[in-house]
């Protein structure tokens, strides 16, 4: 193995030297050698989506002697056209960390001991069965991930919802995009963006709403920069609460106070109406107006429940509602100068300018996440800038298959692969495809993610199986949930690829196959399903998450529902799953097409991908004969919502006088369990830090690298200060990247969430600082 790797490196050394010689001496020839070097027999290339973010870049994985050794951008993939970011280029190194989990471990007398994986799976099935018998069907739970492959999520849902009859299936995507989902559902009745990345090639103005794309969706961001370079009429406006790499690159940076994006969005609508920039043809034909409940709470207490109620209003009501949001009034709330609000409104309002809005966690991790999603759609709907090339409200996703596995397969408590558990027809469809009695499927949703971990703490849930995610780093108000998981009679199963703070609390650890060590599919932000084959073998006894679930399902007596053969189970699962989405609104490409192409967009109808939904020029599901058809809602209209500004769940006061904002850096993916094992990424950002405004740091008396204690009502953490580093928060705010398990910033954060989407707000809580 080692020898072959050396040969490969030597080959690279030769190629580099030949390339350098070629650059220095045009026309230089090395006879047969150049040909040999180009026709490199050492390596073969196979396509896959990137393992990391929701952009879904196509990569080519280079394989030599059974090991992944290199990565190239896939030139056939329209997402990235051959370019990656540093995470993608080094992604295969994440397969080969020295502490990779290769054997199953079970807890015996407090210590973890290695056992054959089949024995561990026996124990998982036995514990699940015992818990269910003793405490009822809702005492067991599955917590998965937007990094689950589509088959992973599908079999999890089938086992828990279809066979075991509990809706205790959630995924970490609840923490990253459920506000995007409820935003889409309330405004359009169907989930996922109407546009696609090609919007970038057509838009004149990009507005990033609390979205540091330069670091979080870098490949899309450099596509924007290349467009701005190529065309002279392109502008980037960064609308944010903190100065980031995106602000550096933007033509204009506008800073707002946390939570006040709600007010600014309403002020933009106010201006559009006041200046009569409304696209009346569009609004009269395709829009209806609504309002919902207000003062809706923050979900910080156990058993919190909320159901919104839509009421129809008319345009005049909406206009009256907006009178509280004149730019001058909103300037006082938001700190955004009225002229900047008018400037943004004018960009949206100018009929000659195509506007694409991008957002991700800034709007989704928000105690009014559903509302702010609605409000940005309001702006696009008022001016009719939607569902056509370049005019696009674009909700980006964070994880490689948050769309594919969580939103489309529906691995959330209320969802089914098609529709929701509350709907009788949807339950019947699922029961029929799954070959289970329809009574099996519980019509009542159970626990969303935060409430699921609260239930584990309370003891309502006693068995939880966690796959492909690291909640013991990512749960807000972390201490409560870690203490809860560690309680005496809780049983925690964790499937993962490396040891993490979550495997630390496990009673069983199952070694998982990672990414291209298995066959699977992801679904990216622009409705693109991306298939990958098994390119290398998993190490040791590591097993795909799908197959782990199948093994347990069979032990529980569901052989009939999980009868697939290991040689072609992914294909069979895909074809079964595809039946849920039959029809022009969501038709998925058949397996044979997915296997061939570098990603296929749905709806995939008559062999054609749908790039812009709701627009009959592109979307075959449109049937009303008009220029747009918003067929997701019963009234065939997109809904504008009157949603007010309401303050954050917690905000700075005299005692806790700073905002705490958390997020990522370009180098690290989520909790760093993979990227920290990639040398170049770890070396670039080896540990976390707290960004402080230089003047706040001076007042506190700390210089770069000195320790600061961050204290909230939940907990405290001491970490090094970073001043004028990667980003600069405004005065009165600190920012902490959450990737570092040595600095668990979520001990400090608050578990308040959007009452509609149940997504926690990781961007806002109150802390105070001390020099440590």
């Amino acid at each position: 193995m080692r020898l072959d790797r050396r040969q490969f490196i030597k080959q690279s050394a030769i190629s580099s030297a030949l390339a350098t010689a070629g650059a220095l001496f045009p026309g230089i020839s090395f006879g047969d050698w150049s040909r040999l070097a180009q026709n490199n027999s050492v390596i073969s290339w196979q396509k896959s989506p990137c393992r990391f973010c929701g952009t879904g870049c196509g990569v080519l994985v280079g394989v030599s002697d059974g090991r992944a050794v290199a990565v190239k951008g896939d030139p056939n993939c329209s997402v990235n056209k051959g370019l990656c970011c540093m995470k993608g280029y080094h992604s295969v190194q994440a397969l080969y960390g020295k502490d990779r989990l290769t054997k199953a471990l079970i807890r015996r007398d407090g210590a973890m001991v290695e056992v054959p994986i089949q024995e561990a799976l026996d124990l998982v099935a036995q514990k699940l069965q015992e818990t269910r018998d003793a405490y009822g069907k809702d005492s067991v739970a599955m917590y998965g991930s937007g990094q689950w492959t589509i088959p992973d999520g599908y079999v999890a849902s089938k086992l828990f919802k279809g066979c075991l009859g509990t809706n205790n299936v959630e995924a970490n995507a609840r923490l990253c995009m459920s506000s995007a989902v409820t935003g889409f559902m309330t405004s359009f009745g169907l989930d996922e963006p109407m546009g696609c990345y090609e919007d970038i090639d057509h838009a004149n103005v990009f507005i990033t709403w609390g979205n540091n794309m330069a670091e979080m969706h870098p490949v899309l961001f450099s596509r924007m920069l290349a467009q701005r370079k190529r065309r002279t009429n392109v502008k980037i406006i960064d609308f944010a609460t903190r100065y980031s790499r995106t602000s550096q690159a933007a033509d204009k940076s506008i800073i707002f106070r946390p939570q006040t994006d709600l007010a600014v969005a309403n002020a933009i609508c106010y201006e559009i109406i006041k200046n009569d920039w409304v696209n009346w043809n569009f609004v009269n034909e395709h829009v209806s107006f609504h309002k919902g409940k207000t003062n809706i709470g923050y979900g910080t207490e156990d058993h919190f429940a909320f159901t919104d109620k839509a009421e129809s209003i008319d345009f005049e009501d909406f206009k009256t509602f907006l009178e509280d949001y004149t730019p001058e009034k909103v300037e006082k709330i938001s700190g955004v100068p009225a002229r900047d609000i008018k400037y943004m409104a004018a960009l949206y309002g100018d009929p000659s300018v195509k506007v694409t809005s991008f957002w991700c966690m800034g709007m989704n991790q928000h105690t009014r996440g559903t509302w702010i999603n609605n409000l940005v759609y309001n702006i696009h709907l008022l001016v009719g800038k939607i569902s056509m090339p370049g005019n696009s409200p674009f909700s980006l996703t964070g994880q490689p298959s948050a769309c594919g596995t969580v939103r489309e397969v529906g691995t959330l408590t209320h969802k089914l692969p098609h529709g929701v558990v509350m709907n009788e027809h949807d339950r019947e469809m699922a029961a029929q495809i799954w070959e289970v009695p329809v009574e099996n499927i519980d019509p009542k949703p159970s626990y969303h993610t935060v409430e699921m971990f609260r239930a584990l703490d309370r003891g309502d849930i006693k068995f939880i199986w966690i796959q492909v995610t690291n909640p013991m780093v990512t749960m807000p108000n972390l201490k409560r949930y870690r203490d809860g998981a560690l309680k005496e009679d809780r049983f925690v199963v964790v499937s993962d690829v490396y040891p993490t703070p979550t495997t630390d609390i496990a009673d069983v650890i199952l070694p998982a196959a990672m990414w291209v060590e298995q066959e699977g599919m992801y679904g990216n932000s622009e409705r693109r399903t991306q298939h990958f084959t098994q390119i290398v073998d998993p190490p040791g006894e590591a097993m795909s998450d799908t197959w782990q679930i199948i093994e347990v399902a069979r032990r529980l007596g569901f052989e009939k529902q999980f009868s697939w053969d290991q040689s072609d189970y992914i294909e069979k699962i895909w074809e079964e799953y595809r039946r849920f989405h039959a029809g022009p609104k969501h038709e998925m490409a058949p397996y044979s097409v997915l296997a061939e192409r570098s990603g296929v967009q749905w709806p995939f109808v008559d062999g054609k991908e749908t790039r812009w939904r709701y627009n009959p020029r592109y979307d075959p599901a449109c049937s009303n004969g008009k220029d747009f058809d918003f067929y997701g809602k019963k009234d065939n209209r997109a809904w504008i919502w009157a949603r007010p500004y309401e303050p954050a769940a917690e905000f700075p006061d005299s005692e806790y006088n700073f905002w705490l904002n958390t997020g990522r850096v370009i180098e690290h993916w989520h909790t760093g369990s993979m990227t920290r094992r990639v040398p170049v990424l770890h070396n670039a950002v080896p540990s976390s830090y707290v960004e402080i405004h230089p003047e706040d740091a001076a007042e506190l008396g700390v210089v770069n690298g000195e320790k600061v204690k961050i204290i909230s009502r939940r907990g405290e953490i001491t970490m090094p200060a970073q001043i004028n580093g990667r980003g600069v928060p405004v005065r009165g705010m600190v920012f902490v990247p959450f990737f570092d398990e040595s600095y668990l910033i979520n001990e400090v954060t608050l578990d308040a969430f959007c009452p509609i989407s149940k997504q926690p707000d990781y961007k806002k809580c109150a802390v105070r600082l001390e020099k440590a």
Binding site: A23, M86, D99, S222, R245, A249, N683, P686
Partner: protein
Amino acid sequence: MMNGQQRHSKSAVCVALLGVTALLLVSENVRAESSVPGNFDNQGAKIFAAQQDTPQVYLDADSGGRTLTDFYSLRQYPGSPPRIPHEVDTSFSGNETNCLSCHRRGGYSSEFDAYAPVTPHPENTLCYQCHASVQSETLFVETGWKSIQPPRLGQSFLSSSPPPVPHSLQLRENCIACHTGPGAVAEIRVSHAARGDCRQCHATVVQSTPISEFERK
């Protein structure tokens, strides 16, 4: 190292460059005052500005043939300010911005029959503060000075992966200045600067300590 072919391609670039200089000055004046702090993230704003301001033809241009050997021969250690390798007209003294007339933008100089390298820090206008001229080649006494090896090329972790940034970014924040255009050193020139965000792919591993691997504590 020069050969006929290289000279030929050089003159083609030169013609194209003349036309864009005027445009360039205009676009810079138009850019609005920004509220974004200038001095964070290794002053990365300079890269984005350079990507916008540098004409495409310049970003794509082939190298004029300067090599790394030439580059390091003017430096006492990697990162030291290079000496001035050409005669400086005496009339230049007293007007410290004249270096920038060539080195701010680069471009072809018929006087030296070469492309001027672009400075990554044109905001520092007192050039002679750091860059020494060469009046004599003889030494006062022999020196025992020894330097360190310059950073190796090709430090990619995988054959196909972009190499991380191997040098300190202090006074060299703008990647585009040194790594693109006909004045760039051949071995370190890139032709894809139009993508604009260098640090999307090239990690800034700005540290002198040995590379360490992540270990759980």
